[in-house]
Symmetry: C2
Subunit: 366 residues, 2 copies
Amino acid sequence: MENIRVELGARAYPIHIGRDILDDKALYAPYADGRSAAIVTNTVVAPLYLERVHSTLAALGARTLDIVVDDGERAKDWHTLDAVFDALLRARCDRQTLIVALGGGVIGDLAGFAAAVYQRGVSFVQVPTTLLAQVDSSVGGKTAINHPHGKNMIGAFHQPRAVIADLATLDSLPERELRAGLAEVIKHGLALDAAFTQWLEGNMEKLLARDPGALTYAIRRSCELKAQIVAADERESGRRALLNFGHTFGHAIETGLGYGMWLHGEAVAAGMVMAAELSARCGLIGTEVPQRVRALIRRAGLPVEGPDMPPERYLELMSIDKKAAQGKTRFVLLEAIGRSTLRAATNERQIRDALGACTRPARAAR
Amino acid sequence: MENIRVELGARAYPIHIGRDILDDKALYAPYADGRSAAIVTNTVVAPLYLERVHSTLAALGARTLDIVVDDGERAKDWHTLDAVFDALLRARCDRQTLIVALGGGVIGDLAGFAAAVYQRGVSFVQVPTTLLAQVDSSVGGKTAINHPHGKNMIGAFHQPRAVIADLATLDSLPERELRAGLAEVIKHGLALDAAFTQWLEGNMEKLLARDPGALTYAIRRSCELKAQIVAADERESGRRALLNFGHTFGHAIETGLGYGMWLHGEAVAAGMVMAAELSARCGLIGTEVPQRVRALIRRAGLPVEGPDMPPERYLELMSIDKKAAQGKTRFVLLEAIGRSTLRAATNERQIRDALGACTRPARAAR
């Protein structure tokens, strides 16, 4: 088992990465002992892992409650959140209750936000069961639900007490979700670490084949990179924004199509190509960089083009991005492979051009 | 103008208390300059003060948005909160937006919680316009909405950047609301400060007559007492729970009757008598103390008896109180006038007896 620590003073916590650690009592014991615990999971994950986590918590003496919600991004809404509150209140869960988020990014965000605001905040543990959640969303304390007007618009920074990433849960992960998770792995490389990007270019086939060694390294390195950034800038007043590389365009795709049409990782993948194209148009990098970005993303089996959506719609959707400041959309742009920067958009023409380079009609015209 | 500081390190903030300071530009300038600002208020307060606050913020260069919600405790629900989010998102309010809570406790709790979770947290300023909000709810960063299963069950600790308490707003306050505010003033005395309690016993008539000097002193002393407690225990892991004196019984009254039947302060008033009676039954104080508590509360024109609700209902409602731990309801009890303690309930008989001493049939039987 590998252990990484997110250094956040009084709120510091461990990330445990290993095989079959989902029901390792010792990992839950510091947070579950003698309390009540509520496991929040979904209809897809519950049949696979709920019983094991439930027995583990019960064996620790915790009065254990299961809360099973629908699968998918659509469940990240107020309606589902309220169902979680309802279950917690009916079971008389108090402020000492531990919430366990068992599932992918949607469950982590939803259960984490429930933990952030239930009785003004209770403890929670992340047990991510998708690659995307293991490499990204379970770490760093960002929790949220969606609003019809924008993704993750309602949320909180609320750090988990621990992250328990069981590699065995990836065995059952659908191919499409594995690829979506690789998008965030690639993001960490492109935005933060040139050497890791190079490693990814050399090991993409192994990752797609779920080679245990390659997956472990990719997860560990992603968590290390993210833990460093989060420790330096917990509430995203600066450097943490770089983790949103590809997300401004990506969120526009998700919101524009309606949540759940594209997986988050797929939208981020296309969004990273767009951001790279925009970086080149802003003169930050040469045109060979977006080509290299495109090649890597394509090799991961991820989309390098956006859906058929007019540029006006992208611009409109991006204007309410959370990174916006003084009414200006801001983008994370590449200064090189492995180095990124946050910039306010000043030139709409360049954004339109970048979008044009990443949509079908424009491609046909090239 | 009097200024008190809530010492919370990086989150420290001032409480300004004075007449006609609602539109003092200098008090808003550090937080509103050049940003967008959203004023959240209700249909009763808007006609009285909205225009003045709006012009003040606009004069500072802030793009200013008004969000007017319904009056009353019923507005502290998800539906109204979502309407606030909707208005913020439609106006493209970003993470730099300042939210101004203009109104009483309900507006402060609602707008404060909106600020806590909108885009994972934006700044807010409290402009309390009721006595209750000025002496209690606007200070300390507790924000929340109600849930059908319990009061303030969904919320966050989110400190304001400043509190601007304009005494002139109390001129228009209905008599019943003034009295409800005095309940929290009395609470600060009974739970924390014997000398202040004595001062209240000597000045209740002046307070009810809205004597400016007496009101200013009562507000300042309440804010000082609360600021000290909050600075020592921001997230209520210990001493801060003492500020809930009377609230365990009080919340049961509010939830049991349906929000809005009794004012919060009225429910707390009766709740304090119940808590004092329970303290005597637990042997912490002599029977003369509940009599003194009852006399002071009666002189403030506040209820000293609960509504006609069976003890079983109280017990049921109190079991989901936020102070509950390991399934046990906990009460703030008096050890003397001005000194209180948090205790787990061990003897249901004593609670029933205390309730019996504070309801009409029991009184008739005495």
